[in-house]
């Protein structure tokens, strides 16, 4: 790891700067930069929402169907792709039923908090092909922090719905997020020790070096390959964090009807659902960035966004696979795995990584 020189902030050519340069907005000073930043954010946000919009109504159906021996949607358009349009019309035109006992405005804010927290996380993710909104020095800390806000959204939804199932789901969500947030962050820290920086661009760059070259094929130093143990830990903690099988406690339809989202309908339901999908993709984006070399891949650098999308869809596929094949654990077992298993392993991994990195970096070795 000695070969990696820490990069300085601001070296990356970010999307807003690029837009400013291309359109000439840069000449208008701070105001121009602001407009360029908004345009950049709009592009990234639209990209992610469009992808989630596709994943929600269509791809998820097709993927789950493939796992479970079914065909799924196939009537509207090729392979049923236009179901997306039908779904949008259906979901947006439904009556928004708000329970009498709902505690407003918490009830109304919760879906927005859930969806927005995930969307904001994408701001610091380097997606390749020059699509990178911001690159603060504390990028990784920021993305964990912002994704963690979703927990507040969940308990708001659970509490404010005035429904006992929602309440139980909200409580479960918080217990689960606390139990798994710590292993998640601690495992993330081990990557920071390798890269020597919290900055996303630096972490990605550190993984670009070839690790070994076998028969002319160079294997990159992706942290998933350098430290597979941390990768698996992070993957598991991430499934718990986004609440997918075997950790889909907060919803657990057979037990809690739909958990914290029981009372949401129409547009609010869309937002909650969108938020969930965004969180799965954000989890995939974090994993891609810190373990799978970000947008790195064969071919010219312009293909970066393609590789990036392939990788996060790979993570999404994995969540759907688990959902089809693995039973869910019980809530007490889940908490036990979190505190007694994951936490210990995460710290062991951190200490081990620190020792190894220190040994490698030690003068004289």
């Amino acid at each position: 790891m000695t070969g990696v020189a820490p990069l300085q902030s601001g070296e990356t050519y970010l999307l807003p700067e690029r837009i400013a340069d291309l359109t000439g907005l840069g000449e208008f000073g701070v105001l121009g930069e602001l407009v360029a930043a908004f345009v950049g954010a709009f592009i990234v946000g639209s990209l992610m929402l469009a992808m989630t919009g596709v994943a929600g109504p269509w791809a998820k159906r097709k993927i789950t169907a493939a796992f479970t021996d079914r065909i799924a949607v196939n009537h509207l358009g090729p392979a049923g792709i236009f179901i997306i349009v039908a779904d949008s019309v259906r979901l947006l035109s439904k009556e928004n039923i708000i329970p009498e006992d709902a505690d407003r405005p918490a009830y109304d804010l919760a879906p927005i908090v859930i969806a927005a927290s995930a969307l904001l996380g994408f701001a610091v993710i380097p997606m390749g092909s020059g699509i990178h909104l911001a690159d603060p020095e504390v990028g990784l800390a920021y993305v964990f922090a912002i994704a963690g806000i979703a927990s507040i959204g969940l308990i708001m939804a659970g509490y404010a719905s005035g429904n006992k199932y929602s309440m139980l789901g909200g409580l479960r969500a918080v217990a689960q997020n606390i139990a798994y947030e710590i292993p998640l962050v601690v495992t993330g820290m081990s990557v920071v020790i390798f890269a020597g920086s919290l900055q996303m661009s630096t972490i990605v760059e550190a993984q670009a070096e070839p690790l070994v070259t076998v028969a002319g094929l160079s294997i990159p130093a992706w942290y998933a390959i350098v430290n597979p143990f941390a990768f698996v830990l992070f993957l598991v903690a991430n499934f718990a964090e986004v609440g997918r099988n075997p950790f889909d406690m907060p919803e657990a339809p057979a037990e809690l009807v739909a958990g914290y989202q029981t009372e949401y309908s129409s547009v609010y339901f869309v937002l909650v659902y969108l938020g969930e999908f965004l969180h799965i993709f954000l989890g995939g984006a974090i994993i891609t960035t810190i373990f799978l070399g970000g947008p790195a891949g064969p071919g010219p650098a312009e293909l970066g966004i393609v590789w990036f999308l392939v990788k996060i869809w790979g993570v999404f596929l994995l969540t759907q696979w688990l959902r089809s094949a693995i039973p869910r654990v019980r809530i007490d077992q889940l908490i036990e795995i979190g505190w007694k298993g994951m936490l210990v392993l995460a710290f062991a991994n951190l200490v081990l990584t620190a020792v190894i990195v220190a040994l490698i970096d030690a003068p004289g070795l």
């Binding site: 021996d69 339809p253 009807v257 959902r323 077992q333």
Partner: protein, 545 residues
């Protein structure tokens, strides 16, 4: 103990045991009937249970005569269900009060509540004397002679306890309605639960949402043709033929009809096909409860169940409401061309072992599944017996009880197969039992197909000669049961000499199995309650009838 039971093998010995508490004998076709006074119920039943080994209260039948009400306790032994005894308790019409049997058999709890609800007999000392199938505000008892059918039943909301009203009582526990509309209740079941955190402190299943007066409908139909379609509608998830057999067995016993051997083989094959279909569904829906809603397993079991459904459709012409059995045989012979039918069945049987391996790979060997299911929903064998639990649920608790072997009917005694039991007593054992029973059923079907293929063409008698109008002797009573997919499905019929039954009572296995839910789930977490409910494999159509 065994020597004591031996002593009471004969009817005379039983009569002697009851002593002067015996008023008179009222023998049924299946068992000796002992008439006792309403205030001797507990002492007589306690003696029969302790001294004579009758550890199973199979069924409680309530009925109204012109001059009296009558409660019949159908007793059996788990060790040998052919040793039966009926305890008949008549009560006066003007004051139908009888002592409760609940302290002796827990099964009497729900059984007597049902008699109270439908017939109007009251049970003194019953710990939970409420209606069970009908709404609490119902006026009158539908099967009692003075019930006015034309009187409108107006149930106002104010009279009804509103389950969703706000509750401002201060307490450490939370009351939660699970159902009647809930993904895990497998139909319209309402479980009133009290939670301490996520732990179930108390639960009370509220049934009756699917009560369709099946017993009364059967009482209005003629024996010969009009009753047979109804059994398909009790346990309606593909165990139709098993249910039909319960009625066929009771009615054939009552009217003394011999069924041709050829028809018995077809019946046996059809019934076991139904059992496979039913167990597949049980496995699939249990997976929904433990895995979540997007599980591959549910689709896999339905894929395989579909093949069975196709075979049954070929055989009976129907997919759900088979109506294939007739008194004295079956409706028609195997479909032509016979070779094609046999080939379909054999193809299915050949592919089944590989599928069972696949299920074991996916389900029973999955570690998370084991963590979830082993040692949860524990049902001790003694508790199970007290509740009259039967079928895979009882066999999962190590109770070696299967009517196909212990009280043989059809063609079972001539075939090679095993009764599956597991000693785990938990949700996991119940899944294992069902999966192994699928394999055993496959063995039975295979032997039936062999027999049917070889059967000489001129000896294929599918129905005995049964009179067009069947009028069993007046006063004849019988209670016969078969091993349905969920357990012991029994029918009690009393004839009054006409062509329709005077009383038709259904002993539902799901009803008794469900009554043991509280024993399994109290003190455990909500997910375990849901898993336990799933592992009971109840069908509300049969619970509520």
């Amino acid at each position: 103990m065994s020597t004591g039971i031996e002593r009471h093998e004969t009817e005379e010995a039983l009569a002697e045991l009851i002593g002067d508490r015996l008023l008179e004998r009222d023998d049924h076709l299946n068992a000796p009937g002992f008439v006792i006074r309403p205030d001797d119920v507990q002492s007589v039943l306690a003696d029969l249970r302790e001294e004579a080994g009758f550890d199973m209260l199979s069924c409680v039948t309530g009925q109204a005569y012109d001059d009296r009400y009558e409660t019949i306790y159908h007793l059996k032994r788990y060790a040998d269900p052919t040793r039966e005894a009926s305890v008949v308790v008549p009560t006066a019409t003007d004051e139908p009060v009888s002592e409760t049997a609940e302290p002796i058999y827990r099964a009497a709890d729900w059984g007597e509540r049902e008699c109270y609800d439908l017939v109007g007999i009251e049970y003194e000392g019953h710990p939970d004397h409420r209606r069970i199938l009908l709404p609490e505000t119902w006026q009158g008892h539908p099967l009692s002679p003075d019930y006015d059918q034309d009187k409108p039943q107006i149930v106002t909301l104010s009279e009804h306890a509103n389950p969703i009203q706000p509750d401002h009582r201060e307490s450490d526990t939370m009351f939660l309605n699970i159902g009647p509309h809930h993904p895990a209740t497998h139909g319209v079941l309402h479980v009133k639960t009290v939670l301490d955190g996520e732990t179930v402190v108390d639960l009370d299943p509220d049934i009756g949402y699917l009560h369709r007066c099946e017993e009364q409908m059967c009482q209005q139909g003629t024996y010969r043709h009009q009753i047979m379609p109804y059994p398909d509608r009790w346990d309606y998830v593909s165990s139709g033929l098993l249910n039909e057999w319960a009625y066929a067995r009771a009615a054939e016993d009552l009217a003394d009809i011999e069924v041709p051997e050829y028809a018995q083989v077809i019946r046996t094959m059809g019934a076991e096909l139904c059992r496979i279909a039913s167990h597949m569904l049980a496995l699939g829906t249990f997976a929904l409860d433990v895995y979540g809603e997007f599980t591959a397993l549910f689709q896999y079991t339905f894929r395989d169940r579909e093949i069975v459904q196709d075979i049954l459709e070929d055989l009976t012409g129907q997919r759900l409401m088979f109506n294939y059995f007739r008194l004295g045989g079956v409706a028609w012979d195997l479909p032509e061309p016979r070779e094609e039918f046999f080939e379909n069945v054999r193809d299915f049987l050949d592919e089944l072992p590989a599928k069972v391996v696949e299920y074991n790979d996916m389900v029973t060997s999955n570690e998370i599944f084991q963590v979830r299911c082993v040692d949860t929903g524990v049902l001790e064998p003694e508790v199970a017996k007290s509740y009259g639990v039967t079928g895979p649920v009882a066999r999962g608790s190590g109770v070696d009880y299967d009517l196909r072997r212990d009280d043989p009917y059809g063609y079972y005694e001539n075939l090679e197969w095993n009764v599956v039991t597991e000693d785990g007593m938990d949700n996991y054992s119940r899944v294992l039992v069902r999966m192994q029973e699928v394999e055993e059923s496959a063995k039975i079907i295979e032997q039936c197909v062999d027999l049917l293929e070889e059967w000489p063409e001129d000896d294929r008698e599918i129905q005995a000669n049964v009179p067009r109008t069947l009028k069993p002797d007046a006063g004849a009573e019988t209670y016969r049961s078969v091993e349905a997919a969920k357990g012991e499905l029994g029918i009690y019929i009393r004839s009054d000499g006409t062509d329709t039954p005077a009383r038709f009572k259904i002993r539902s296995p799901c009803f008794h199995n469900l009554s043991a839910l509280a024993e399994m789930a109290e003190g455990e977490y909500i997910p375990d309650l849901v898993a336990s409910l799933g592992s009971l494999d109840i069908v509300l159509g049969e619970v509520d009838r």
